[in-house]
């Protein structure tokens, strides 16, 4: 069993750990750092539920080893709330009823956060394509798209 010492920044705080080499970033966040907001659906890169932001890019945390995250800056769903309140995207998704069971929600929120950072002027089609790698089995997607569109509108108005 190979364990590797790593230091990384998660939601602005320096964290250390000694994960086994085979441990994915998703399992490290959940089991070692107790950040269970990152959800694991398929565990092989198909569903998008485990999406987090690594050095500014949306990444599937089940398709990256924890040891590979050494030295990176990571944002998880726990890092989006501002002063205990919801972030702009979270509030817009709340207002649009963008979830039902909520299992896929963290992945959608992280993917949409990364996308809106780069494309605040995105239209509906671009948002649909950007979120096409995330699977939701409840909503039928329309309310999720509505929430992200509303967030984009609010970001532009600021």
């Amino acid at each position: 069993m190979t364990e590797v010492d790593i230091t990384l920044t998660v939601n602005g705080a320096t964290r250390t750990g000694s994960p086994e080499a085979r441990k994915t970033l998703a399992d490290f966040l959940r089991d070692d750092l107790s950040l269970t907001g990152t959800h694991l659906g398929c565990e092989h890169g198909v569903c998008g539920a485990c999406t987090v932001i690594v050095d500014g890019r949306a990444v599937r945390s089940c398709l990256m080893l924890a040891v590979q995250a050494a030295g990176t800056e990571i944002t998880t769903i726990e890092g989006l709330a501002t002063d205990g309140g919801l972030g702009t995207l979270q509030q817009a998704m709340w207002d649009s009823h963008s979830f039902q069971c909520g299992f896929c929600t963290p992945g959608f929120v992280m993917q949409a956060t990364a996308f809106l950072d780069d494309h605040p002027d995105a239209d509906e089609q671009e948002i649909r394509e950007a979120l096409s790698g995330n699977i939701c089995r409840c909503t039928g997607y329309q309310s999720i798209i509505d929430g992200v569109l509303l967030a984009a509108e609010r970001i532009r108005e600021r």
């Binding site: 190979t2 565990e43 890169g45 040891v67 990364a114 950007a130």
Partner: protein
């Protein structure tokens, strides 16, 4: 599932990586972007004793323009290639295919060399490499060799890379002036593997097709060039009748696999439609670039 146990090595130079490969050969898997290898591990379809992570080998990443070609380091991430002006200008077919690879989060990690070494026959990059006759540069115990795409893809997920060898660079030829391109694919959702995909590159000079390259993804266990159609097109002026005949020739000899996404017959029909669409779009883009 969780990944099986393995030993982990993270070399920082190509020579260190080659030493590890020479030592472990078939027992080792090379980890680049991990967007194919980690699912294989999670599904327990791969059980390497050692994973050699080459993400820390800085010399393997980067895009540079050379004489007549564009050299792309094996671990260059797909999203960086997508943003490369050099690739947009000199290898427009690659630029057209990149946004269709997986989803945004996949391209954040996935690498050019990783996709070509994994050699999924339904993937975009193998078809592009085959269409453009890209060269794979591999290094191993006996030094460096350059493998043309035609000799690289040997079968389903199988290349001519030796067990002690590492794919270090891919060289794509620069598109000639007057070259038009198109990457067409039909998939159930944006970002999924193509049911059928087609890479098309056409060069027009004085209204006549001087070079034609068509390579299918998803119709066989390797990417497939449509040689019969290419021969037909060269020397002719573009027309709908010509493209109809090219579609017939391109699909006459293929026997695509059947799965739950489509029968073999359906894939053949899609392939013919993509040939017509691809040729029309490539002609349009050639006229724009002249």
């Amino acid at each position: 599932m969780k990944l099986p146990q393995f030993d982990y090595a993270a070399p920082t130079t190509v020579s260190e990586a080659l030493e590890l490969l020479a030592e472990h050969e078939d027992e080792a898997s090379v980890l680049a972007g991990g967007q194919s290898l980690i699912p294989l591990l999670a599904l327990r379809l791969a059980y390497p004793a050692v994973v050699i992570d080459i993400n820390g080998v800085d010399e393997l990443s980067g895009v540079s323009a050379a004489n007549g070609s564009v050299r792309i380091g094996a671990t260059t991430r797909e999203y960086l290639a997508e943003a490369s002006q050099t690739i947009a200008d000199a290898v427009p077919l690659l630029a057209a295919a990149l946004p269709l690879i997986g989803h945004e989060a996949i391209r954040s990690r996935g690498t050019i060399g990783g996709s070509l070494a994994h050699a999924d026959p339904a993937a975009e990059l193998p078809a592009v490499a085959r269409a453009l006759d890209a060269d794979m540069v591999v290094r191993g115990r006996s030094g460096e060799r350059v493998v043309p795409a035609a000799e690289w893809f040997e079968g389903y997920l199988t290349t001519s890379r030796g067990p002690d060898e590492l794919l270090t660079e891919v060289r794509f030829p620069r598109a000639a002036p007057g070259t038009g391109v198109s990457f067409q694919e039909v998939a159930r959702r944006h970002g999924d593997f193509a049911i059928v995909g087609l890479a098309t590159s056409l060069a027009l000079s004085d209204g006549t097709i001087s070079d034609a390259r068509l390579a299918f993804a998803g119709v066989s266990d390797v990417p497939v060039r449509a040689a019969g159609a290419e021969d037909l097109l060269v020397g002719e002026g573009p027309s709908d009748e010509l493209f109809d005949e090219a579609a017939r020739r391109a699909t006459a000899d293929i026997d695509p696999p059947a799965d739950l996404h489509g029968s073999s017959e359906y894939r053949k029909k899609v392939a013919a439609a993509l040939v017509r669409r691809g040729l029309r779009e490539a002609v349009g883009s050639a006229q724009e670039r002249q």
